[in-house]
Amino acid sequence: MSDAITFTIDGKTVRGKPGQTIMEAADEAGIYIPRLCYLSHLAAHGSCRVCTVQVNGRPQTACTQPIAEGMTVENDTEALRQVRRDIVEMLFVEGNHYCMFCEASGNCELQALAYRLGITAPKYPYMFPSRDVDASHPDIFIDRNRCVLCGRCVSASRDLDGKTVFEFVGRGPDKRIAVNAEARLSDTELDITDQAVEVCPVGAILKKRVGYTVPIGQRKFDHTPIGSDIEARAAQAEEN
C-alpha cells in the first residue's frame, strides 16, 4: 500500500489510490456522499452540486475533486445537509414533479434524496413551468417536466452509445435537453437498449409500456434510503 493516499472524511481515516476522486474513494470505503448527476461509469459532470463537500474548508464537488494526502473532507455536517436540501428543494420547485402518478416514483433518485434528507415540502414557491412531452418514439418518451438537467443522458449517449442523441440547449431557466434531430425523438437513432435510456435518475426518459410493473412496497427506495448499498460496504471496507 505504498502508493496509498490517506485522508479523512468527517474525521474517519480513508485510504484511496492516486487519481481517485473523493467520491470514488468514499464509495469504496462505504461512506455515502449524496449525489444526483454522478454515475460511476459516466464522466463526472459536477453539475448538480449535491455532492458538495468541504475540502480543507473550501466547498468542492466530491465527484470531480481528486484526493490528496492529508486532506480534510467534511461530508455529513448540518451545514452541508442544508446545502443539499436547498439544492433538492430548488429542483422540485423549478420542475413539475408529480410523484403521485410518475412511473419513476419509488425508484427515483431525486425523490429518494429528498426522503433521505428529510424534506416534507420545499420552502421555495413552486414555479409551475411550461414544459413539453415528446412521446413520438415508439418505445421511449421524454417528459421534460421531470428533467433535472443532470446530463447523464448526454454523457451516456455520447460516450457509451456513441450516438450523441441528447444535448443541452438554452441558458438559465430556458435550459433544456434537446434531441439530435429536426424536431422529435422519433427522428433520432435512439434505441430502447441504449444506455442513455437507463441512466435517467428521474422519470424524464422512460420506456413505454413498462410503467408501474413493480408494486408499491417493492420498489428500490420504499424501505431503504438511497446510499444504503454504499454504506453497507463500510463493514467490509474496515476488514480490508
Binding site: 428529510g118 415540502a121 413552486y126 409551475f128
Partner: protein, 181 residues
C-alpha cells in the same frame, strides 16, 4: 379540562386524504378519547365552534372559497398541517397551472370530445366560487406548520403525527412514513 379540538377540510382535493384519516381504523376510537372534532366533514360541522389545536388541510386553493376556508382555518387553529400532495404542491388540480384558465374552461364546457352544451354556456353564476388563475399550494396562501406529503399520506403517518402533536412531543417520523406517492 376540555379535550383539544381538531378541524379538517378538503379544498381542491379528492377526499382521498380524508379516507386515509378514516384508515386509522379502530384507532379512531382512541382518537376521539384524545380530541373532539370541530369543523370537519367527519362530523359535518360546517362552522368553527371555537379555538382548535390542530387543523388538517387537504387540497390546494383552486377558487376563492378555498382561500377563505383556508384563512378561516389559520385564524382558528394553533397548528395547521398540510395533508397530502395537493395541499403541499397543488397535486393533480395544479396540472392546469401551465395552461391559461380560459383554455381549461373552453375544453371542459365547449370543446371537449364528450361535451354536450347546446347553449355554449360556461357556468358563471355569482353563487359559484370564482376560479383562481392557478391552483396554489396552501403554503403560498397562509403559514403552514407541518407538511405531510403523500397521495395520500398513510394512516400511520397521520396517526403518529396527531399523537405526537397532541402529546407535545417532537414530530419525528420514520423513513417509511414520509412518501410522495
Amino acid at each position: 379540562m376540555a379535550k383539544p379540538k381538531v378541524a379538517t377540510t378538503s379544498l381542491a382535493g379528492c377526499f382521498g386524504c380524508h379516507m386515509s384519516i378514516l384508515d386509522i381504523d379502530e384507532r379512531i376510537l382512541d382518537l376521539i378519547e384524545l380530541v373532539d372534532f370541530d369543523k370537519s366533514p367527519v362530523d359535518d360541522i360546517k362552522t368553527f365552534t371555537g379555538r382548535c389545536a390542530i387543523g388538517l388541510i387537504e387540497g390546494g386553493c383552486s377558487n376563492d372559497e378555498n382561500v377563505h376556508v383556508l384563512q378561516d382555518f389559520r385564524k382558528h387553529c394553533d397548528v395547521l398541517i398540510a395533508l397530502g400532495d395537493c395541499a403541499t404542491m397543488g397535486g393533480i388540480p395544479a396540472m392546469r397551472n401551465t395552461l391559461p384558465l380560459k383554455e381549461c374552461l373552453d375544453e371542459a364546457y365547449l370543446n371537449g370530445p364528450t361535451v354536450y352544451n347546446p347553449d355554449r354556456c360556461i357556468p358563471n353564476d355569482a353563487e359559484l366560487p370564482l376560479l383562481l388563475d392557478k391552483v396554489y399550494p396552501v403554503q403560498h396562501v397562509v403559514k403552514i406548520d407541518y407538511f405531510l406529503p403523500g397521495c395520500p399520506p398513510s394512516a400511520d403517518t397521520i396517526w403518529q403525527t396527531l399523537v405526537a402533536l397532541l402529546n407535545n412531543k417532537p414530530l419525528d417520523l420514520p423513513y417509511e412514513l414520509i412518501k410522495y406517492d
